[in-house]
Amino acid sequence: MLELRGISRYFGGLAALKDVSIKVEKGEFVGLIGPNGSGKTTLFNIISGVLKPSSGRVLYMGRDITGLNPNKICHLGIARTFQIPRPFKNLSVIENVMLGVLFGNFEQFVPYSEENVKQEALKYLNFVGLRVDESTMPDELTAVGLRRLELARALATRPALLLADEVLSGLNKEELAEASSILKRIRDEMGITIIWVEHIIGALMNLVERVIVLDYGEVIADGSPTEVSKDERVIEAYLGEES
């Protein structure tokens, strides 16, 4: 479904990604981990079209999508959440999600009637467990609520592939379990392929079927959670960070 071929990205002299090649199949639930600054968000930015790679290709459903505008990529069925939530602050929470419904992937076209679109938006808000009324504004939400809004807005674009960037941070134990179950349901019930970046590795390892580890912009491991957690380079990368 998604294939990255030799993606590199430089910021000035700094190499945020070095020759990253990854393949993700339809229906997979993939975890993407790595220490701070290892290039996870940069990779998402490149897949979603926010950044252009310095070199390398992004293929999606057999099509070269490298360098397409984010809106085009969204229409092809790739949605992403932002690590630092970016709600439209002057729009109500519902309107935020309505934008996703209105402008997202046209494959499952929703006829434009204010009421239809709103109902559709509420459906996604419900799904992520965010209860709001008509007038709730994003700044009335907690940090946790904002992450859910990110997720709802991304889902509203009706993606086939979801790039979820740290949807769990700032949650307590109880919320953690619940939020991870939402991700699982997105894959199982909606049939959406997921690449999930998360710092809370424990929660991630429990859920995903495959883990990719980035370190200094390079893929250092790619395999099942059990394999990866035994990998020496991974342990080293993380121990290096912990100490």
Partner: protein, 340 residues
């Protein structure tokens, strides 16, 4: 307003008053002032189509000038009726807007940089008009050939026709504002105005929508230039393009409040009246300082009163209810759904 019903009645009353105004007016001078208000309100409303979404153009003089000059030149040299010429003039303005817009939006020129680029373009058009003095009359401007009363050629010996005509144009611009507000485009532009990256990530085609609103705004502004030129029957690069008008237009809109459909009209009414008052009381003493005054006033406004006078007043009224609602019973609205 209390209710839609009261509001509609109020609007109807104003409409009736404005329609009978020329007949009831004690002097044609007041009708003239009102005509000027309509024309400039129409133009600054067209400007605010963009301005309210964060596309602050300081170069609308370019569109005004192109619309007016193309139309008037086609008439003077080729005898083309301004009714037709105006479509060509406004289309030329829209074409310039498309080129300028694409260049800016493609390369992510936004905010202050967009304002600066447009400011330069406005001045560039004024300088071009001056440079082409053999055809345009340069700085001295030129007069539209007078045909006396020739409605087919957009000339009326009775100026009251211009009063009604510009009133219609203003009503149209306000109507279009409402239509835009109900459209998908308005939602897209609001999102774009706030955060382009987030907007494009939910599938909004930034360039398309910004281009569309820019072209609409420029086209209407070009028509506004024709309206003004036909009314005054004289074209001058300094009053129709260049820095002064390019700043005066946003100033009117921002003073009234560019986020509200009535804001630009209210701002224009205030400024045009004030300008006339100053002109009548102090003569021409102040000519030339207005550019400086506009520049300074614009900066002060943007910093201290970004929503304009009318916008701010309206907000204060709303805010009282809002606060009660926010801190009333349901303070925390977000409830996280557990399990299921």
């Amino acid at each position: 307003m209390k209710s839609p019903w009261v509001k509609k009645l109020f609007l109807l009353l104003i409409l009736v008053l404005l329609v009978i105004f020329p007949a009831a007016s004690p002097s044609p001078y007041l009708v003239h002032i009102m005509t000027l208000i309509f024309i400039w309100a129409y133009i600054s409303t067209a400007w605010a189509y963009m301005g309210r979404f964060g596309l602050v153009s300081l170069g609308h003089g370019a569109f005004l000038g192109i619309g007016a000059y193309v139309t008037a030149l086609l008439f003077n040299y080729f005898n083309l009726s301004p009714w037709i010429g105006m479509l060509i003039g406004a289309s030329s303005a829209a074409f310039l807007a498309a080129v300028l817009g694409y260049a800016c939006f493609r390369f992510g020129v936004i905010g202050d940089y967009f304002a600066l680029v447009t400011l330069a373009v406005g001045e560039l058009v004024a300088l071009s008009i001056i440079a082409l003095r053999d055809t345009t009359g340069g700085s001295l401007g030129f007069t539209i050939r007078n045909l006396g009363n020739a409605p087919l050629y957009f000339q009326f010996s009775n100026k009251v026709y211009f009063y009604y005509l510009s009133f219609l144009f203003l009503v149209f611009a306000l109507y279009l504002w409402v239509r835009i507000d109900k459209s998908k485009m308005q939602k897209a532009l609001r999102a774009i105005g706030e955060d382009e990256i987030a907007a494009s990530s939910v599938g909004i085609n930034i360039i398309k929508y910004k281009m569309t609103i820019t072209i609409i705004s420029a086209f209407l502004t070009g028509i506004g230039g024709v309206l003004y030129a036909q009314y005054i029957t004289y074209l001058n690069p300094h009053t129709l393009s260049g820095v002064e008008v390019s700043l005066a237009i946003p100033f009117k809109a921002i003073l009234g409040g560019m986020f509200d459909m009535w804001g630009p009209t209210i701002g224009t009414a205030m400024i045009v009246s004030l300008e006339e008052y100053i002109r009548v009381s102090y003569g021409t003493k102040f000519i030339g300082i207005s550019e400086v005054a506009y520049g300074i006033a614009l900066i002060v406004l943007i910093i201290f009163l970004p929503k304009g006078l009318y916008g701010t007043l309206k907000e204060m009224k709303i805010f009282k209810n809002e606060r009660r609602r926010q801190y009333g019973c349901n303070k925390r609205k977000e409830v996280i759904l557990r399990g299921r």
